[in-house]
């Protein structure tokens, strides 16, 4: 009986450890040249105005990605966009990092609607469905960019920095 109790206890302990180590929610940290650092999980993400971008995927077909404008997130963090995006602020860039360590960067001016109509979003859905785990939960989608290399998957961090 005692033996069973121990086995049961070990089993429960094992399950709880597993639960602890593998159920955290993926979030994105927004840091660097910001006035308000942000941590964005699904709940925070849904509070932003949602929009869509259509772009071709590897299969050559158009897909509709939905999510939020990267510039909206940066604006909330107090990044120098809009009227403030001039002078030395044009030497700032956004470095986006993924779970696998992959990094891509955007000049702030690439993200500002005063400079461009091209839309860059942080997407959480493709064709109405949540992104698959290997791509999500958050992925950058760039309207009309020919190569997909900057459509970085599994985004974990966005850091605004000054070029040195």
């Amino acid at each position: 009986m005692k033996k069973y109790a121990i086995v049961l206890l070990l089993l429960i302990a094992g399950l709880t450890t597993n639960a602890q180590t593998a159920t955290k929610e993926a979030v994105i940290k927004v840091t660097g040249e910001v006035t308000t650092p942000l941590t964005i999980g699904n709940a925070e993400f849904q509070q932003y105005k949602q929009t869509t971008v259509t772009r071709k995927d590897k299969d050559g077909k158009d897909h509709t990605y939905s999510g939020v404008l990267v510039s909206d997130i940066l604006a909330k963090a107090g990044v120098t966009l809009g009227p403030e995006l001039r002078g030395e602020n044009l030497a700032k860039y956004l470095l986006v990092e993924a779970s696998d360590g992959y990094q891509v960067l955007f000049a702030l001016a690439e993200l500002d609607k005063g400079f461009t109509d091209r839309t860059i979003i942080l997407a959480d859905k493709v064709d109405g469905q949540p992104l698959v785990p290997a791509d999500g939960p958050f992925r950058i989608i760039i309207q009309d960019e020919k190569k997909p290399a900057r459509c970085i998957k599994q985004v974990t961090a966005m850091k605004v920095m000054f070029a040195k």
């Binding site: 593998a22 159920t23 993926a26 779970s99």
Partner: protein, 364 residues
Amino acid sequence: MGKICLVLCLLFAIVGLTAYKGMEQVVPMGDYIFNYPANFGNRINVPADNPTTQQGVYLGRLLFYEPKLSATNTVSCGNCHQQSKAFTDGRALSIGVNNGLATRNSMSLANLLWARKFFWDGRAASLEDQVLFPLTNPHEMGQSIQASVQKLSNTLLYPGLFKIVYGDSTITGDRIAKAIAQFERTLISANSRYDQYLRNAYKPTDDELKGMELFNHGPDPEKGIRGANCTHCHGGPKTYLELFHNNGLDSISKDEGMAAFTGLVTDRGRFKVPTLRNIALTAPYMHDGRFKTLDEVVAHYSEHIKQSVSLSAFLQGESNEMGGHSLKLLPKEKKQLIAFLNMLTDSTFITDKRFGNPHQSTKN
């Protein structure tokens, strides 16, 4: 009498000065200049509080090969990171003090100057942080920093060297780690046949060239392009991109990998993509050393990728066959790929005297 005294005094002074100068010559002094090809890029990682100096590298090399830093006075960093094996040890899991086994396979130390995250799971943000782990881990060198400091302080050699490097003879764990990190940053491998090819100094064989093509291309059966897609993670002249992936070894990885500290289910079994520099010398392969040969490694990527929720996206559905689920390289292509991987062996790196054990020539 006075004259004789004066002459004697001068003589002593000259002898003394010569001896001092002799000591000075033993320890090279000044900034350490890293030499590497321009195509390696300058995104190097040297912390502002540990600039690399010749004297620091000199001390670091002695410490790297110093068995007194282990509980049994028998294991140095050099045991599990042997120069002849590109600073690995040929074992699936290294043996530490008291025959304990390390948790993961010993990693090559080539070209760490460009690394920003260390260990198989990338948990250390600097070499200085990384160094302290094997020193104290009970299954590796197994000795507390205090004990190491004590042992080094009791030697004739080290207090004087610490003074030369740090300005005073105080020995601390931080200073030990900094010196070892300095030495490790100098372990640059940049003279393989691949490097020679990149600077037009070597003409590859047909197999090597075909292997290189496969290495560099992703498969695209619709366009008739055959490839192994290796550069997706091992790209660039350094064959290292500092990425972390679940490469489909298991459907449920026993080793949690990065998930142990990120807590993300998609990080389970996610490990560092190591450099392929000297890959022919660093068997066995993977974080647990499960593959004994490069043939097994290539066969894994070609046919045995295991699907899981953590499997990295680029390994899903990449195939040389229409609608295929794995690479499906031909036997000949596997051979060619391995011929190219052998081009990455840098024989000057593994015989460079600057990286070898210095203790044979130093009284300790």
